[in-house]
């Protein structure tokens, strides 16, 4: 592999992560509480939060992409984001952590 191929913009975070999609939701977002501070948008390592019309919005397919780090939950100060874990046996799979 040459240097060019290893450049970070070519590191595809999604291709490099393995996730068993959770059969049900584990992040709960209450748009009424969101103040649009965008903490979650800044912090998410997978860019799963976007700001639309002054409020955060979670990607619909987050269960296939979320690394369960919980940083959105910590970053949110308005209590709009609630995080639990995906059901046992599902979610992110680390083989080389």
């Amino acid at each position: 592999m040459n240097r060019e191929e290893r450049r970070p913009e070519r590191l595809n975070r999604f291709a490099l992560s393995e996730i068993i999609p959770a059969p049900k939701d584990f992040i709960f977002f209450d748009a009424d509480k969101c103040t649009g501070c965008s903490g979650c948008v800044v912090i998410c390592p997978m860019d799963l939060w976007k700001l639309r019309e002054g409020r955060a919005r979670l990607a619909e397919d987050y269960r296939e992409k979320c690394m369960e780090c919980g940083s959105c939950y910590i970053a949110c100060e308005s209590g709009a984001i609630d995080f639990t874990y995906p059901p046992g046996g599902s979610g992110v799979v680390y083989k080389f952590a």
Partner: protein
């Protein structure tokens, strides 16, 4: 409903050590783990310091396929972006003054966490603990104001007079036990890692024992490059940008920062030399408390490991701390069960002992040292510090550009010019010295006075004491 003496939630190093300790003491122990195998989930420790073998001698016998012994460590200081080339780098071995033999022998053994976690969980099972995988705990069972069991997602109840929460930084058991809703934005860092596959012969040839390397650049936090037997972790960002509150304030996305910094030429050269191929992307959080967390117990319940916020406050090392706290919690559980009192008052001794233990001791100097590192987060101070290191080494030894006498005469002006920086460092070190070794400090100062008088005599009064 099944009954046990002790239930442990989470089969990471903290949970498994708690379980093996309890099972060894004859307690009927259950471990609940949400993953398909121990180490599959939010595990981020990639190295076990020599403290592990000191305190858990059984680890001496263990060889994991991914294990590499780190007898050297290297720090690389880089120039500002966009160049980001090496300005100063230093390799060090362990200090001969370290107080125990394993610590003199090596810094860390690097390894993949699934190997370590599986081994520890299997050992807990061998000692008699029961391990249930793919089981997420969703509730606590309470009785007379005390935790007396847990409820799994399927509704099953497991009862025990003591429950240990070892479920990591995003501890749901801490929340369910009412100890905290979540860690604060100033108490947690976000870390992202790229794992690369590396041919073992290449890693042996290029890295050998220098498998714990850090890269610092002004304005960036920093990156670590950790080499296992046949893999590399490049991750970060370090101190300055990874605290959630700071990342949000500076609007720095930790993932993008890591991906950008991996691009710097020195890291790329290492990866090229290692023939490294990207294999896995990881993102997780670590607790990074600035004081010892005392909200780690309540009636019938104790927190261990990351869930308790025990990682050391400078480097955020946490695997040994998790194991240490896990063992202590299991010992306290055993005592409390024998006394027939598992109330919060009875379990408070866990917190007291942990605070007095080496785990708690880490917090004394760690927080102040962290401030020193945070000073380096300022691009100007970082640059000054690099200048100092480069000036000293170039003018003391490596100068081939000018007559040696000229460069050696520069040493005093260099030190003088850097007084503000050195004073800044003193501000960090003096309080630690005074708190932990004031007597020692006074002795050394007396010695310096004696030496100064001698120097004065030897130079015939040319240098005044």
């Amino acid at each position: 409903m099944e009954s046990y003496d002790l239930i442990v939630v989470g089969a990471g190093p903290g949970g498994s050590v708690a379980a093996m300790t309890a099972a060894e003491q004859g307690l009927k122990t259950l471990v609940l783990e949400r993953a398909n195998y121990p180490g599959e989930k939010n595990a981020s420790g990639f190295a076990l310091s020599s403290k592990g073998e000191r305190d858990f001698p059984f680890l001496k016998e263990v060889e994991f396929p991914s294990m590499r012994v780190g007898r050297r460590t290297q720090a690389h200081f880089l120039s500002p972006p966009p160049e980001m080339e090496e300005r100063f780098s230093m390799v060090t071995t362990t200090s001969r003054r370290i107080s125990y033999p394993e610590g003199r022998d090596y810094f860390v053994k690097t390894m993949y966490r699934p190997e370590l976690d599986r081994y520890l969980a299997e050992r807990a099972v061998q000692k008699g603990a029961e391990l249930k995988l793919k089981t997420l705990v969703t509730g606590m069972v309470w009785e007379a104001g005390k935790v007396c069991g847990v409820r799994a997602e399927g509704g099953e109840e497991y009862r025990a007079p003591v429950v240990i929460g070892a479920d990591g930084v995003m501890s749901m058991t801490a929340r369910m036990a009412g100890l905290r809703e979540k860690f604060g934005r100033d108490e947690v860092v976000s870390l992202c890692t790229v794992d690369y596959a590396v041919p073992k012969e290449r890693a042996d040839a290029v890295i050998h024992e220098n498998c714990f390397q850090t890269y610092f650049a002004p304005g960036f936090g920093g990156l670590y490059l950790i080499v296992m037997a046949d893999g590399v972790h490049v991750g970060g960002p370090g101190v300055t940008n990874s605290l959630i509150s700071r990342a949000v304030r500076k609007r720095v996305n930790p993932a993008r920062e890591v991906l950008e910094m991996i691009n710097c030429p020195p890291i790329q050269r290492q990866l090229t030399a290692l023939d490294a191929r990207p294999r896995e992307w990881q993102a997780h959080m670590l607790p990074w408390m600035d004081q010892f967390n005392r909200r780690i117990y309540t009636g019938g319940f104790m927190l261990v490991g990351d869930a308790a916020g025990v990682p050391e406050p400078l480097w955020a090392e946490g695997v040994w701390q998790a194991m240490y706290s896990g063992r202590l919690a299991a010992q306290v559980a055993q005592e409390a069960l024998q006394e027939g009192d598992t109330s919060a008052t009875s379990l408070e001794r866990y917190c007291d002992r942990l605070e007095q233990s080496p785990v708690g001791q880490e917090f004394i100097a760690g927080v102040q040292l962290r401030q020193l590192f945070e000073m380096l987060g300022d691009p100007v101070i970082f640059d000054e510090a690099c200048d100092l290191l480069v000036d000293l080494s170039n003018n003391m030894l490596w100068n081939c550009q000018e007559p040696k006498a000229v460069s050696i005469n520069r040493l005093f002006p260099i030190l003088f010019e850097n007084l503000p920086l050195l004073m800044g460092m003193l501000r960090v070190y003096a309080p630690i010295l005074l708190e932990t070794g004031g007597e020692n400090l006074r002795k050394r100062l007396e010695m310096i006075k004696g030496v100064a008088a001698m120097v004065s005599q030897m130079t015939g009064g040319e240098v005044e004491a």
